[in-house]
């Protein structure tokens, strides 16, 4: 059905009708990636303004000695909120938004894999961020520093609500990070256009893929740590309290297992933008694509072996220090591979000094300096000197502003014509660049010196005798110059949005697919999806944009009002499914509101309300899931270019299967962190610990639970095999349900029989482990009930077998976690049978 006689305009009208989005309040129902991506970006910029304002206040306070602008309480809130807002509410959401907006256009698809999930993540981000900002406005903001060290952040030292705001608000926001990561990983691996094999993936997609996996593995330790700390604060379970067998260092470990990778999670997308922009502006293809991909993967892994370098001064054994020092120096290699690839591309090409390029040069300069000071503090004896001084503040801003803000500004100017459909204009932008660049060095270069002169970070004032006044005053003046630069950037963007003339489609002569999308961007991106034959489709396949507009490609027709895109084989890029995308819906918005009720209930200790919120959210998720899938088989449908493909609901592994698999990666890391906590406490806990499980409950209970969970897996496997025949299938799922129900009951019994979790950290950890398992079994129960109902209503058939398969993944995970978790409990608290 390729290139049927229909005109481009008619095709556009058809697609427009299927993809339209309601106006007015209907905007709350939007799920389209362009809309959600744009919202993420704008919201992140708003948070950047808030974080920047706080930075200005910090600098105003530090400008002179014995300043009386704000007192220590307020100063503490300001720097904590500055760090928190910048890291969690600005940097991460900004690149998530950029990825959501760009990836489908680069990969030749019409949306991300799970548009409703994007929308849900967005609302979680906005609502969670609002909790923090409201707390700041009314003076109850967190004040223990952005890494919330215990015992400072524990109940005895921070009795107010401040720490709870952080723990609960940030955990809420993290939902959006995890959901975006799942979404990005599945979309890059599966939701591409035909012919886009792995080796033809735009380099930006590789960066985002690795970043997504890093989020899946990097964030769960923090989420776990936050939950444990909140439980300690709210219910007195002493995970981090040394007087009852806990250990504050456990928090530091959990935090930095997240915190160090976080720096790379922020850096990689920025580097991805550079690897995309720099070759285009150098009129030279990126040199060393494969090496670059390998070094991104290496960087992703190695960055998880570094966290202890934030704890060099905690009195760890020499050997640990040496280990982590070695790993810290090792990251230099993959980072250098990237830098050399960029330099080679620059040197081999014919670079044009356009504004994005100027920002990239700024990045080089700043980031390399940050890297040098990074090597300095990576060396243990130097770190012992510089630790917790303004030297570190300088270093971290060279890395973060250099490694993230500058590349993102380059990206902003590079992709602005893509967002607006207007020409890029660079007059004001140039002035803004120099203000930012010079202001930046004015602010932060001098902080190296104040740091070496011994000025600690996080002090609200200092005596005049220290002779830090001049440096600090210049620093503060620099920061105001930089702020003026950012303000000018905003003005520039607004002016360009309003007044710049229309742009041609591919102003930079770029070679990635996003530049074939017409501007202003239609919600469906492509009238037909291209077949790709090169990594540089725009160069290799001339006239592509025109062909697509006339329907010469995949999925050129609208049928049944469906919104369709392709799913491909991960490696070869051969199309294998037609994915039906969801229509706009209010469900994500209301689900996020219900989730907010849960978190607010927890914050204000109204646990009934919290549970009601949770139940509502769960119900909405089920409604949401119910609206997916099909009640009948359609068989293979024409997909354009002579191809016929099944709908995703009629395959064994639709995108949702992968989403479950990747979610379990994140869940598994959370579980591993819990295990780590158990072993850590076991190793450091002095003296005897009483048995964690009441002696009445003997070993055989564990065995029964594990047996039940394993039996359920077995029943589910047979369900999958018997999926074509409704009666045995429904019976087998029923059996699995009963087994899970019994396992849940026994786990609850174990929890009730366990000794008082408040008495000792090991008890607290054991009980937490039991709760972890029990909750997972309960979720299994809900999902099983759901699947039984789905089977009754005809959503499951021989071809539509994905739902039991997805459930099987969960079952298998729960059984494994049960085995390992219960074994750990025996290990940390042996009980005589």
């Amino acid at each position: 059905m390729a290139a049927s006689g229909k005109s481009a305009l008619l095709r556009h009208k058809d697609l427009q009708r299927a993809w339209c989005n309601p106006p007015g309040w209907g905007r709350l129902a939007a799920v389209n990636h362009s809309i959600i991506g744009r919202r993420f970006i704008l919201t992140a910029l708003a948070f950047f303004a808030i974080g920047g304002l706080l930075a200005m206040l910090l600098r105003a306070q530090l400008a002179t000695s014995r300043s009386a602008f704000v007192g220590p309480e307020i100063y503490n809130q300001f720097f904590t909120m500055h760090g928190t807002v910048m890291m969690f509410l600005f940097a991460i959401p900004l690149f998530e938004g950029l990825a959501m907006y760009l990836l489908p256009k680069m990969l030749g698809s019409r949306d991300m894999a799970f548009p409703r999930l994007s929308a849900y993540g967005y609302w979680c981000y906005v609502l969670g961020g609002s909790i923090l900002v409201v707390a700041l406005a009314i003076g109850y903001a967190p004040d223990s520093g952005w890494f919330m060290y215990t015992p400072l952040s524990s109940k005895p030292y921070t009795p107010g609500i401040n720490s709870d705001v952080w723990l609960i608000g940030i955990t809420f926001v993290e939902i959006s990070a995890i959901s975006a990561a799942v979404e990005i990983a599945v979309s890059i691996l599966r939701i591409r256009t035909g012919g886009m094999s792995l080796q033809r993936l735009p380099i930006f997609a590789w960066y985002m893929l690795v970043t997504a996996f890093m989020i899946l593995v990097g964030f769960p330790p923090l989420i776990l740590g936050s939950i444990l700390l909140e439980v300690e604060r709210a219910f007195g379970w002493p995970f981090f309290d040394p007087t009852r067998g806990g250990d504050p260092l456990l928090w530091q470990h959990l935090f930095w297992m997240f915190g160090h990778p976080e720096v790379y999670i922020i850096f990689l997308p920025a580097a991805g933008a550079i690897s995309t922009i720099l070759p285009v502006l150098s009129r030279q293809r990126l040199i060393g694509y494969s090496w670059l991909v390998a070094s991104i993967i290496a960087l992703g892994f190695i960055s998880f072996g570094l966290w202890v370098h934030h704890m060099f001064t905690t009195g760890l054994p020499h050997l640990s220090l040496a280990f982590f020092s070695a790993a810290s120096l090792l990251v230099v290699i993959p980072t250098s591979v990237q830098i050399f690839s960029w330099l080679a591309t620059l040197v081999m090409g014919r670079p044009q000094l356009k504004l994005p390029m100027l920002y990239i040069l700024g990045f080089f300069f700043v980031f390399v300096m940050g890297g040098l000071t990074g090597v300095m503090v990576g060396v243990v004896p130097f770190d012992w000197q510089a630790h917790d001084t303004h030297f570190v503040v300088a270093h971290l801003h060279y890395v973060l502003v250099g490694g993230f803000v500058f590349p993102m500004l380059a990206a902003a100017y590079y992709w602005l014509p893509r967002f607006t459909g207007r020409q890029a204009q660079h007059r004001l932008g140039l002035v803004a660049f120099w203000l930012i660049f010079l202001g930046f060095h004015g602010t932060f270069f001098l902080m190296h010196l104040t740091g070496l002169r011994g000025m600690p970070r996080r002090i609200f004032t200092y005596p005049v005798e220290m002779n830090w006044d001049v440096l600090n005053l210049i620093s503060s003046m620099g920061s105001f110059v930089m702020a003026a630069g950012f303000a000018l950037f905003v003005v520039d963007i607004i002016l360009q949005l309003r007044f710049a003339p229309r742009s041609c489609r591919n102003p930079w002569q770029a070679d990635t697919l996003e530049w074939t999308v017409p501007g202003p961007v239609p919600l469906y991106n492509f009238a037909a999806l291209p077949h790709i034959r090169s990594r540089y489709p725009l160069k290799a396949q001339s006239g592509l944009a025109l062909k697509l507009a006339t329907g010469d490609g995949y999925l050129p027709e609208v049928r049944h009002g469906w919104m369709e895109t392709l799913s491909v084989d991960m490696v070869s890029g051969r199309p294998d499914q037609i994915v039906l995308l969801p229509k706009p819906t209010y469900l994500p918005f209301f689900a996020a509101l219900a989730t907010a009720v849960f978190f607010l209930g927890a914050l204000f200790k109204i646990y009934g309300l919290a549970l009601a919120g949770l139940a509502t959210a769960m119900t909405l998720f089920l409604v949401w899931a119910w609206h997916s899938g099909l009640q009948r088989d359609y068989g293979a449908l024409p997909a354009g270019l002579g191809l016929s493909l099944p709908l995703h609901a009629e395959t064994e592994r639709p995108p949702a299967w992968w989403a479950m698999a990747f979610t379990l990666v994140a869940d598994g890391t959370m579980f591993a962190s819990l295990l780590f906590g158990g072993i850590f406490l076991l190793v450091v806990t002095p003296g005897e610990v009483q048995p964690a499980i009441a002696s009445g409950a003997a070993m055989w209970l564990d065995i029964v639970i594990i047996g039940l969970l394993a039996g359920a897996v077995f029943a589910m496997r047979r369900t999958v095999r018997a999926v074509a025949t409704p009666a045995p299938r429904q019976r087998l799922i029923g059996i699995a349900f009963v087994q899970q129900l019994l396992a849940a009951a026994l786990l609850v019994y174990l929890i009730r029989a366990a000794p008082d979790a408040k008495a000792h950290a090991v008890h607290a950890l054991s009980t937490a482990m039991l709760w972890y398992l029990a909750l997972h079994v309960m979720v299994a129960l809900v999902m099983t009930g759901f699947t039984i109902a789905r089977g009754r209503c005809g959503y499951i058939s021989a071809t539509r077998s994905a739902e039991p398969r997805i459930l099987l993944l969960w079952y298998t995970y729960v059984a494994l976690a049960g085995l390992i978790g219960l074994a750990l409990l025996r290990l940390i608290s042996p009980v005589a049978p």
């Binding site: 691996l189 094999s197 792995l198 080796q199 260092l249 494969s290 090496w291 991909v293 390998a294 070094s295 993967i297 290496a298 992703g300 892994f301 190695i302 998880f304 072996g305 001064t313 905690t314 009195g315 760890l316 054994p317 020499h318 050997l319 640990s320 220090l321 040496a322 280990f323 020092s325 070695a326 790993a327 090792l330 993959p334 012992w384 991960m570 490696v571 190793v683 450091v684 002095p686």
Partner: protein, 137 residues
């Protein structure tokens, strides 16, 4: 047994090399820390202590696995005309991982065991080169 042909033609195969690195890093680090906490350097087995034995068993094991991965990638590549993108990448990551494993294990040779720098243990009595039963931090 693992089918390397299959592993090397899946995108997840790219993770294998560094997963081995991660395992080496984590297990050696854990063994050494546990040893310090449990006083393994007191347990002698012939010429070496238990504390020394654990890492010197773990390291060669991981190196052997990585070498095997590299070797199989090389064999598969030789059997084809062109190695192909994924296999090349597989080889590069495994080689990176091998180098990384060697580098991050180097401290085993250099650092003194279990010692803590005394001045850094704040608020505690200074006892240089603590080792033995309680955890050193």
């Amino acid at each position: 047994m693992i089918n390397w042909r299959q592993v090397s033609s899946s995108p997840f195969g790219l993770l294998v090399g560094f997963l081995v690195w991660a395992s080496a890093f984590a297990s050696i680090y854990a063994a050494v820390s546990l040893g310090c906490a449990m006083g393994w350097q007191g347990v002698t087995l012939g010429v070496i202590t238990l504390q020394q034995l654990a890492p010197f068993l773990l390291l060669p094991l991981h190196i052997a696995i990585l070498t095997a991965i590299l070797f199989s990638a090389w064999r598969i590549a030789r059997a084809r005309h062109t190695p192909g993108f994924l296999l090349t990448l597989h080889g590069i990551t495994a080689a990176f991982a091998l180098a990384a494993t060697l580098w991050t294990s180097a401290p085993l040779l250099l650092a003194s065991n279990c010692g803590v720098t005394p001045t850094l243990v704040k608020g505690e009595q200074l006892e240089p080169e603590r080792s033995g039963s309680s955890a050193p931090h």
